[in-house]
């Protein structure tokens, strides 16, 4: 079923809404996690996003963008609203863009995840893409290999190097693993 038909069906059918949820939830959750920084925050944002989507679905208008974009907007607004209420800005972490600054964050408990995300950003371009595709977007070795036009063996090798580099970066940042 194409997305528009599914959205129309979801207005009257609990099963269609559940299907819409199944299709979009992994991406929405990952996006919420990047904004909230921890799983409990991501769960709150994701739950509230879909509750609002359910209420506002009759007013949703399809303007050519994927449905996920609408859900992302709801999550973004919720996160901003939450940040305003708690009196602090929530940093936007998007590990699709590389940065070069050194990691100088204090290793507060709540910032541990931020440190990991910064470390991912500091990986060399190709390694970062492998990490994001393999672990973030859950692609198989085969899919990543196709995307990067490399052999599966090369992707495995790159994963190995990326993971080692990530380990070094985390050590440099003073990251201590929980036991």
């Amino acid at each position: 079923m194409d997305e528009l038909a599914l959205i129309t069906a979801a207005r009257n059918s609990p099963d269609a809404f559940a299907m819409l949820y199944d299709r979009t939830q992994p991406a929405v959750y990952r996006f919420a996690l990047s904004l909230a920084g921890d799983h409990s925050g991501a769960e709150d944002l994701t739950s509230e996003c879909y509750r609002r989507a359910l209420t506002n679905l009759p007013r949703y208008e399809h303007r050519g963008k994927p449905f996920e974009a609408w859900l992302f907007t709801i999550v973004r607004n919720l996160a901003r609203d939450k940040g305003r209420r708690s009196g602090r800005e929530i940093p936007l972490m998007d590990h699709d863009e590389p940065i070069d600054e050194p990691i100088t964050l204090e290793l507060e408990r709540t910032e541990r995840r931020g440190v990991v995300q910064l470390a991912v950003k500091r990986l060399p371009e190709v390694q970062r893409r492998v990490v994001v595709l393999r672990f973030g977007h859950e692609w198989s070795v085969r899919q990543v290999a196709d995307e990067l036009e490399k052999s599966e063996a090369a992707v495995k090798q790159l994963t190995y190097r990326a993971v080692n580099r990530l380990r070094e970066l985390l050590e440099e940042a003073g990251y201590e693993h929980d036991v």
Binding site: P14, P26, Y29, E43, T46, S47, V116, V120, Y160
Partner: protein, 269 residues
């Protein structure tokens, strides 16, 4: 776990959970399923896609209102059911059996499955949901005091609020509020028909007058020598047939000092 995620986990060996989760960014399956059920249930209520079927139990017939996956409302009194449908749902559901859900409800009532897995609790506050989920963890045949439920729900001070949540349990029998009693182990109220009905539901689950009396006169904590654990008297893990095997304690510290571990089922402390 499938091969793909196994391979991913192998690649991330040596990293702690924070790193794994940060690069992976996956919702826990429990959370994803629960939210799915909540959303599906909310939409079912909004679009009037709820149905009912009856289950015959030794204590009488109960009516279950459902969305084909979760149970939204249970009642054993048809007049009260009509009123609740009108005011809580705003419409009158039609009859529709669901073989799958009927089987699941029977398993829950027989104690082979946890009721919170098939209960729609989406309209309740987070506190109320925790209270009902804690209640659903009480095993078939066991009883627990209200303060235990409040503590297990994460709010040890909210004993009264836990009590009023249970009094308004939308899905009795599925979430076994009849297994929650006063701190002195007297039965207390039961919204599905008073203390007599509460007693007959507990008896349906194997509670006897003899065992009830034993529980009410037992020490606050009861330790067993064969398991070297201590329990609340209402725990099903206790075998009161051999008094030689048991030792009572007033304080949990004394039981711990005597080398007994807290029972992991009834969680006495």
């Amino acid at each position: 776990m499938n091969t793909m995620s196994k391979q991913r986990d192998a690649d991330l060996e040596g990293f702690d959970q924070t790193v794994r989760d940060a690069v992976r960014g996956e919702a826990s399956p429990e959370f994803a399923d629960r939210l799915r059920g909540e959303l599906r249930g909310r939409q079912a209520r909004a679009t009037e896609n709820l149905w009912w079927f009856d289950l015959d139990l030794p204590i009488g017939t109960i009516r279950l209102v459902h969305d084909e996956q979760l149970v939204h409302m249970v009642d054993n009194d048809m007049r009260r059911y009509e009123l609740r449908a009108k005011y809580e749902l705003g419409f009158t559901p039609q009859f529709a059996d669901s073989k799958r859900l009927r089987g699941a409800a029977e398993q829950v009532i027989a104690g082979r499955r946890r009721g919170s897995e098939i209960a729609f609790l989406g309209e309740l506050t987070p506190f109320q949901q925790s209270v009902l989920r804690a209640t659903a963890r009480i095993p078939h045949g066991a009883i627990r005091p209200y303060n235990w439920v409040a503590r297990e729900a994460g709010s040890p001070g909210a004993v009264r609020a836990a009590g009023s949540t249970l009094a308004q349990n939308p899905v009795p029998f599925i979430v076994p509020c009849h297994r929650v009693v006063h701190a002195d182990w007297s039965l207390g109220k039961y919204s599905a028909g008073g203390p007599e009905v509460k007693e007959s539901v507990l008896k349906m689950e194997g509670m006897t007058d003899h065992r009830m009396e034993w529980i009410q006169h037992a020490p606050k904590f009861v330790a067993q020598f064969d398991s070297m654990e201590f329990c609340l008297p209402g725990c099903t893990g206790l075998d009161e047939s051999d008094p030689e095997n048991l030792k009572g304690f007033k304080e949990p510290e004394a039981a711990l000092a005597a080398g007994f571990a807290p029972c992991s089922v009834c969680r006495p402390i």
